[in-house]
Amino acid sequence: MTLWFLRGLRRGVVTTRYPARPDASAAALPTPPAFRPEALTRALADRLAAACPSRALARDGDALVFDVGACTACGRCLAEAPGAATSSGEFELAATLPAHLVKRIPLLAGGGAAAPATEGGSP
């Protein structure tokens, strides 16, 4: 608190320059995940969808449907699949249409070895 006050006195201004300049504190914000398609299998996508508490993730065929608007950046998908999901670092997420917030992420790793019986059985 004291340091903050003294620094403010020295610099003369404590107000962020955003949006003219990026704000340093933005790097510390919790942000929605970004996914690596080549690490995503159908089984993993199902696991991610089950782990998501706010129904932001769902699997639709060979795509992971990610509703950024529903995401609470809780980090459960990052814990479930550390190799396939990382924090995106994006916080400027305002949209003029809700459809702009729904992203389709292709599952490039295919059916995967974790669930061959269920995925291979259906034509």
Binding site: V14, T15, T16, Y18, P19, D23, S25, A26, L29, P32, P33, A34, F35, R36, P37, A39, S54, R55, A56, F66, D67, V68, G69, A70, C71, T72, A73, C74, P82, G83, T86, S88, E90, F91, E92, L93, A94, A95, T96, L97, P98, H100, L101, K103, I105
Partner: protein
């Protein structure tokens, strides 16, 4: 503008004209009324921080007002509980036009609650939302960006994001 000129314009042209009109009218001074429709108050906490010295939204020409009659923009948080239907409608109708509605936070965007007997599960079906701000809660920076998108001073960014990361495996 005459009706003939209006009819000869395409939809994108009309949208661009409307966007310019909103920027002209709201770009320098805009009054915000917040509406809590059953949120946990985390969004309110972040909205309150907008007025603190670090974010200081007054420098950008945004102001909070407690009166809907003075407000240009309605900032709605929470999943729109059904008990709030009449109050939400009255607040919206009390605002003078033109007016903007901003849905704030994952609840308002339909992420946290399903529609059931107690809540609509989102703001979209009750009020005509212009801008959607994700986040749980959205940080003051995200709120600032959303407000600037609402008045046309910043372009929407999320439309072009893919949320696909093409990095090397770690």
């Amino acid at each position: 503008m005459t009706d003939q000129r209006a009819a000869s314009r395409s939809v994108p042209e009309t949208a661009a004209e409307l966007r310019r009109a909103v920027t002209r009218q709201f770009g320098r001074s805009l009054h915000i009324r917040t509406l809590d429709t059953g949120s946990c108050a985390a969004c309110e906490q972040e909205i309150r921080l907008l007025a603190a010295p670090h974010y200081d939204l007054h420098r950008l020409g945004f102001f909070f007002t407690p009166a809907p009659r003075h407000a240009d923009l309605l900032m709605v948080t929470g999943p729109m509980v059904r008990a709030f239907d009449i109050a939400a409608r009255k607040t919206y109708e009390a605002m003078p036009g033109p007016k903007l509605v901003v849905a704030t936070g994952a609840c308002a965007l339909g992420g946290v609650y399903q529609p059931d007997a107690f809540t609509h599960g989102g703001v979209g079906e009750t009020l005509p939302v212009d801008v959607w701000i994700p986040g749980c809660p959205p940080s003051p920076l995200a709120l600032l960006q959303g407000l600037l998108v609402a008045v046309g001073r910043l372009a929407e960014k999320v439309q072009d994001l893919s949320f696909i990361q093409n990095g090397t495996p770690r």
